[in-house]
Amino acid sequence: MSTKHKHLISSLILSLTGIVGAAQADELNNLLKSADHFRLGDESMQVETRITTFNRDGSKEKERDYLVYSRPNRQSLVLMQSPSEQGQKVLMSGDDFWMLLPGSQRPLRITPMQKLLGDASIGDIATTAWEQDYEGKVIGEEQCDQRVCLHLSLHANRKSVAYQRIELWLGKSLHEPLKADLYVQSEKLAKQASFVMDKAQAPTAVDQMILLDQLSNHKETRVQYVNRKPKTIPDQWLNPMFLAKNPNLE
């Protein structure tokens, strides 16, 4: 075979690899987009979230309420609403995070690691889009509780997300999220998540996310999406100084 032909074949193989790779990336993005739609709804939303933590013996340890405003481009604002946390806020704008404490009027710039503090981290509450934050591949079809599901292996494309690696299982036909293993930076399994849908036969949205801590206390945390509605917050709400000036936003 002449050198010319060898080059031609190499180019063809490379092109085919590229096309296959692009097609796989497109397939992954479509799967994540569908899964995100079940979790997040529209791009700009107001979500009332209730988090309940259970002790290892099944008794309820605590319950917290949050109001979460989300916008495209990884922007979200979490308002703590339970009496013990009333007035606290966490603002996330891309990779930048701030915490506001009641009465102090001084926003605190916090690191992604500080955002992780707590049974359900702020990253769990202000759910960001998997499609934007993760890349990876489809491992293949598997059995999930007597049904066929798709196994996806995802790694974060930026360091500020709560979990650096996610092993995710989606329903085969609708691509609704079923369960996930969530790994932190050090590759330790931090939490195992399972998703409860609103309607078992024809799901439209995630109703609850159940998190089992695997890193420290092995407690169960339920993240319940009590109410979702479309809402677009103004640009100023994403300025930490504006939030300090306006403690009562709702």
Binding site: P102, T111, Q114
Partner: protein
């Protein structure tokens, strides 16, 4: 006026204050019971502190000569009710407090933390009233906290008491500008907490960096300019720095009395020129939820090394004078008591300070240890605390120990150990 009559009048005023605050908040709550925008919340806190009093500080020495000249309590218990309400653009925070000391002493008082009205939509906003306005970065000391001048390193974080302000603020997504007229109706004073002043803060968000610029013009103290930055270096590390230059700052200074024993407090607030304050620090948080803060700061508005030397020398000289001449014990006692004024002269006791804090949060529990060290006199204060957070209850307990060589300022403050417990119920 007779002291009993004064006490009765004072109690009457406190009660009247109580009634005013309670009726204001109640009216707000009742008249807006049906209003959609009414927000009402609060907390009730019980705090109990037990102190071990120092026996080598000027206050104890003064009390040796005139027992009870400056009361030193070993037990202090208080109950605070903090009420928050907001409706129709008016926001109020009020606190009512009942306090009991050793030997059955009690005191009731109340104060308004905030009462202000605000208007304006998203870009421009305006406020008038008594308002908490906290600025600057850093944990242990904030040079550019130009309006609030919050006292740091307290045991329990209470709502601050706001300042009278009129303010205009501009916001977009990444920038803000605040223009504040503080203490607008106050007369001339060199005390920065009550001095009439204009202050401004500009803020810019540039990705992982927050940048601030500050300016203040005080009626008596003149101009001060400052800047600060907070930078998130990676997912675990945040670095911050703050610097302020002030044309003039009031500082308690010893004005030598004509005779060695003064008839009135010889420590007077005098203006000092060209004052610099700076802080630098970092926070580091691990995956296992351990957090570390390390900071160093210079506070040019605190008493100088020379002033503390003079202070130490005067303490010794006053003690020697009383031991040589018993008839002078009474004036010596008053002069020793005035020496304690320097403890509250500034936000920091010494100019050079190093601070470190470790905290660990696991579930509902948080434990912390922090230490403040003053390298010039090797003084130190160490605090260990534990906190538990429930749905509505928050419980804190801790101990603080002051120490250092006998000439260190921290070793000469009126208490050398403090133990505290606190329980807070939020509603």
């Amino acid at each position: 006026m007779h002291s009993a009559a004064q006490a009765a009048l004072s109690t009457h005023r406190v009660l009247r204050g109580f009634v005013l605050i309670v009726s204001f908040i109640s009216n707000m709550a009742l008249s807006n019971a049906c209003a959609d925008d009414l927000q009402f919340s609060g907390q009730i806190r019980h705090l109990w502190t037990v102190s071990e009093n120092n026996d080598r500080d000027p206050v104890s020495n003064a009390n040796q000569f005139i027992p009870g000249l400056i009361p030193e309590y070993k037990n202090d218990a208080s109950v605070q009710a903090e009420l928050h309400a907001s409706a129709h653009g008016v926001t109020a925070i009020a606190t009512l407090q009942g306090q009991a000391f050793d030997q059955g002493g009690t005191e009731a008082t109340g104060w308004l933390n905030e009462l202000y009205t605000g208007w304006g939509e998203n870009a421009w906003q305006f406020s008038i009233g008594k308002k908490i306005v906290s600025w600057d970065v850093a944990y242990g000391f904030r040079p550019n906290d130009m309006i609030q001048q919050e006292k740091r390193q307290t045991f329990i974080s209470n709502s601050l008491i706001g300042r009278p302000v009129a303010s205009a603020e501009y916001f977009d997504a990444d920038n803000s500008l605040a223009l504040v007229w503080v203490n607008p109706v106050h007369g001339a004073s060199t005390d920065a907490t009550v001095e009439q002043a204009f202050a401004a803060r500009a803020y810019h968000h540039a990705g992982s960096l927050d940048i601030y610029g500050f300016a203040r013009y005080g009626q008596e103290t003149g101009t001060s300019l400052g800047s600060a930055a907070a930078w998130v270096a990676n997912e675990s590390l945040e670095l911050h720095t703050s610097y302020r230059y002030s044309q003039q700052v009031a500082l308690l200074t010893l004005v030598p009395p004509p005779a060695f024993l003064a008839r009135t407090a010889p420590w007077q607030a005098l203006l000092i020129n060209h004052v610099q304050q700076a802080a630098i620090g970092m926070t580091y948080t691990t995956e296992e939820q351990h957090s570390f803060i390390i900071e160093a700061w210079w506070d040019g508005a605190a008493p100088s090394d020379k002033q503390w030397q003079q202070w130490n020398q005067r303490n010794v000289a006053l003690g020697q004078l009383a031991s040589k001449n018993a008839s002078l014990e009474t004036p010596v006692a008053y002069n020793l008591a005035w020496q304690a004024n320097l403890f509250s002269a500034a936000n920091n006791l010494r100019r050079k300070n190093l601070f470190a804090r470790w905290s660990w949060k696991t579930g509902a529990w948080e434990t912390a240890i922090d230490a403040l060290y003053t390298p010039v006199d090797k003084g130190r204060t160490t605090t260990a605390s534990i906190a538990w957070q429930g749905d509505r209850w928050h419980v804190d307990a801790g101990i603080r120990i002051y120490g250092g060589p006998s000439s260190a300022v921290f070793a000469q403050i009126p208490q050398n150990k403090l133990f505290y417990t606190s329980a807070t119920w939020a509603f």
